[in-house]
Amino acid sequence: MRRVVITGAGTVNALAHDLPGTMRAMAEGRSAIGPLAFRDVDRLSVRIGAQVRGWPEDAQHDRFTGFALAAAAEALAMAGDGAGEGAGVVIGSAAGGIGTWEENYRAVFQDGKNRVPPLTVPRLMLNAASSQIAMRHGLRGPSFAVSSACSSANHAIGQAFRLVRDGYAPAMVAGGAEAMLCFGGIKAWEGLRVLSPDGCRPFSASRNGMVMGEGAAVFMLEDADRARARGAKALAEVAGFGMTADAGDLVAPSVEGAAAAMRAALDEARLAPEDVGYINAHGTGTRLNDRCEVAAIRAAFGPAADRAMVSSTKAMHGHAIGATGAIELVACLMALDQGVIAPTIGLDRPDPDCDLDHVPNEARRALVGAALSNSFAFGGLNAVLALKASP
């Protein structure tokens, strides 16, 4: 079996439109959460989010595809000549082209129009991001979209990891993309009553819900031997992936399901709990998630849970739903490649039930040999990536 390394990374999110800017913002503990700006926002009861600012309108692509294309271009530029024709693309997204759905429903239902643009379907399809990346870069290997709500990006990266490891492709471009910050997107989440009206404060006693974000992050995953042969720098090794389904509650998380996914990722990576220095938590800032996740980490790690740093970066870039695991992988790369641990900001008063080292408010320097990235989705789908520092 091949080993798989990450040789390129790119992102667009509310913190910055590129990787270096995002890492800088994460290291500085900056929040990109602010007032939302889009049509009909005054009809929402929740009006904050981590919105990508200054992003140009795109007549050809839905916003989620635009984010994905930009992130992929950055990742492929960093990876150099690593992709090649045999590479494929897997991009995760929960809602795909929801903005395109909304715009065209508005036109036909509200404005009474009887005609929509010819590219409506190719813009809104969930695989638009994967297909557009493949087309732009001439990648003819295995390509598809993955959708599992808030775990979409981790499932996508996990699939890409296994395709490279098992020899189906020499390299894969993988990540997540999401652009749900539109009237209908927020309105739907409002109905679930999980959004905070005033901020995202994971693991904090004062937390009152999640704050939505948007964006994309895309990575080049490559056969480690091939990367070494062409002299490419590896940012980290993708060493394991664990996925489980709770098959229980539709929305409430399960300690056992989450813990089992973490154990599976550790097993595949041949890591012991005490090897893991950093866990990027799902850490949504809802009471149910945060307490359940801490209990799951304790269940999977035992006494080693108290030695790992466990931060949630969602208070900075928001919960980017199907893209969130990919944006959070940036924090893992920063930990493994640069020794900088992104903090959990907004942690003013710890919840007594969230008593791990949550790296409150300020980034920390630390040498980390291995990291986990947790994503847990509505529908009870858990996806955990295990990474090691570059060999």
């Binding site: 009861s45 999980v194 905070s196 009152n208 929305v251 409430a252 149910l288």
Partner: protein, 86 residues
């Protein structure tokens, strides 16, 4: 039907319980309603009375809308209806 009877009927429908068996002192947990079930019950109450119930399952302790018992929910809804009429 009084407000209390209507609220009890809506909660009973969501909890798949007999309205006659529901008393104001009961907690929503004892009716088998979890966090999502309660969110759904509150939605049906909002629709029935055309009010907005300031309830979120993410906040601990006092400050938010009291959902500790069926009676507390009824009193809260009565207050919101009165505030709307005022």
């Amino acid at each position: 039907m009084t407000v209390a009877e209507r609220v009890i009927a809506l909660i009973a429908a969501r909890a798949l319980a007999d309205p006659a068996a529901i008393t104001p002192g009961m907690t929503v947990e004892s009716l088998g309603l979890d966090s999502l079930g309660l969110v759904e019950a509150v939605f049906t109450i909002e629709e029935a009375f055309d009010i907005t119930v300031p309830f979120t399952p993410n906040e601990d302790g006092p400050g938010g809308f009291d959902v500790s018992t069926v009676g507390a929910i009824i009193r809260g809804v009565e207050g919101l209806i009165a505030a709307k009429a005022a």
